[in-house]
């Protein structure tokens, strides 16, 4: 308990240091572009591939499970869409990204800490937290929603692809009808808002664990595992809270 309070205090202090005006905007934008590019190059394909497959599998499984003649076939398309838009593309995708991007950030910053690169910045009078972490947080908050939109799009495409396989009477036309049935566009906004919050959670928590590494390479590894575990828990908790606030 004490430990948790201590960590929360440290985290808050770090964020206070992070959130300040960069002393050179040109350097800040250079870093921001770099971060966005890195995130895009690293994660776009994995997001697309996972989404297509999961979209396909969701459609197949629902179709296999709906065997009652009383339930119309378009329910399959409808349910697939709802799962992808509401939960998969935002929360589950961000959990995956927490593993990939979060561990990356924590180990990058952690390595800079143990090899004294952060000290080198501080001794120059550079606010290292601001210089290193702010572009990561903003970069993720800008680009993770884009990845989420890609995920929605390709997830649905995966579902459509499955509908051509004619499993248990599912047809492309019923699937398509179901996908347009009772469409609430707010769900897209809801997912994007969630993903912005998750992006902040991933970037800030991973940075915190990296920034506070003490020791050597072994500790960097531990910090990156801890970062993934902690940000995943926080994402799940935020999911519950935001769903309650926005949908009920």
């Amino acid at each position: 308990m004490n430990e948790a309070l201590h960590r929360m205090g440290e985290y808050t202090l770090l964020m206070a240091k992070v959130i300040s005006i960069p002393n050179r905007w040109s350097m800040f934008f250079k870093q921001l572009i770099k971060e966005i590019y890195k995130l895009g190059a690293d994660s776009l394909w994995i997001v697309i591939i996972i989404s297509i497959f999961i979209g396909t599998v969701i459609a197949i499984q629902i179709s296999l499970n709906i065997s009652s003649p009383l339930i119309p076939k378009f329910t399959i398309g409808y349910t697939t869409r709802e799962i992808i838009l509401l939960e998969f593309s935002s929360s589950i995708m961000c959990l995956i990204l927490a593993g990939k991007v979060g561990s990356n950030i924590a180990s990058e910053i952690g390595t800079m800490r143990v090899t004294e690169q952060i000290d080198a910045m501080e001794i120059m009078g550079v606010n290292s937290a601001n210089f290193l972490i702010l572009p990561k947080i903003l970069g993720l908050m800008i680009f993770i929603p884009v990845l989420v939109i890609f995920s929605m799009f390709t997830g649905i495409l995966g579902g459509i692809a499955a509908s051509y396989a004619d499993i248990n009477g599912m047809t492309p036309s019923s699937f398509e009808y179901g996908m347009q049935f009772y469409f609430n566009s707010f769900y897209i906004g809801y997912s994007i808002i969630k993903s912005v919050v998750y992006a902040f959670i991933i970037a800030s928590i991973a940075s915190y664990f990296g920034y506070n590494v003490k020791g050597g390479a072994l500790e960097v590894g531990k910090a990156s595992t801890n970062a993934v575990v902690m940000s995943s828990i926080m994402i799940l908790m935020a999911d519950v809270v935001m769903t309650h606030l926005m949908l009920t």
Binding site: M27, E116, Q117, I123, M124, G125
Partner: protein
């Protein structure tokens, strides 16, 4: 000139530095020597303000570092250059970008002028051929030289070096020592160097303090050190020369 007065520092009740008094002179290479674990790095970190001293004062040409506000400290830090034990080059940047970093952050000059300044620093440490390489692509000695170039980019008044020779062969060590020495003289910097390398002591020890278990045991220069009567110091010299 950097002055340390009655500096003490402890970690969790264990005293690492005990009432250190020292004077580091301008235009000279000032050495802090002592065995591994004697507190050299902690002393250096306290002097540059990366750690807060438990008690005592640190004066930069009369300006007191302890008790400075964040803003004042940031300004003072622009007058400092530091060479870290492991070079601490930013590994996502090329050698040239590393040297340009402090200039990009603080210099009001145009990009062309900043680049010119960085190239001049690289030339000074004889590293022009490596400007586009990344730290992972160059040798330890080259990394040290690149780090020196970065440290002097903003024309600092104070230069700090933590074990500049660690991990280098004797010949390269000599080269680095000479480089630091001549830069110190040319730019009239106050240079403070942590070392346990007796070659450095004999080569550039213009002003030396010897620390043992957090206590300042002896002070003098390279000529006086051979005739010292301090037993701990003689032990240290003997052990170092046997290696």
């Amino acid at each position: 000139m950097v002055e340390v007065k009655h500096l003490s520092k402890s970690f969790d009740g264990r005293t690492v530095l005990n009432d250190i008094n020292a004077l580091f002179e301008t235009g000279k290479t000032n050495l802090i020597i002592g065995r591994s674990g004697s507190g050299k790095t902690v002393l250096l970190k306290n002097i540059i303000g990366l750690q807060r001293p438990g008690s005592g004062q640190i004066l930069y040409d009369g300006r007191e570092l302890t008790g400075m506000k964040k803003r004042e400290l940031d300004l003072l830090r622009r007058e400092m250059g530091m060479l870290f034990q492991g070079s601490a080059l930013f590994d996502s940047m090329t050698v040239l970008e590393n040297v340009m970093f402090p200039l990009d952050m603080f210099s009001p000059d145009s990009f062309k002028e900043r680049q010119k300044r960085a190239m001049l620093c690289l030339e000074r440490v004889d590293l022009l051929e490596a400007e586009h390489l990344y730290p992972s692509e160059i040798s330890g000695g080259m990394m040290k030289r690149a780090a020196i170039a970065r440290a002097i980019a903003l024309k600092p008044k104070y230069l700090f070096c933590d074990e500049p020779n660690s991990g280098l062969d004797p010949k390269t060590s000599l080269l680095i020592d000479d480089l630091i020495h001549s830069i110190t003289r040319d730019y009239r910097m106050t240079t403070i160097i942590n070392t346990h390398d007796m070659n450095s002591v004999k080569n550039i020890g213009e002003n030396i303090i010897f620390i043992r278990e957090g206590i300042l045991e002896w002070r003098g220069n390279k000529d006086e050190i051979v005739s010292s009567h301090n037993e701990a110091l003689n032990d240290f010299i003997f052990a170092a020369s046997r290696r």
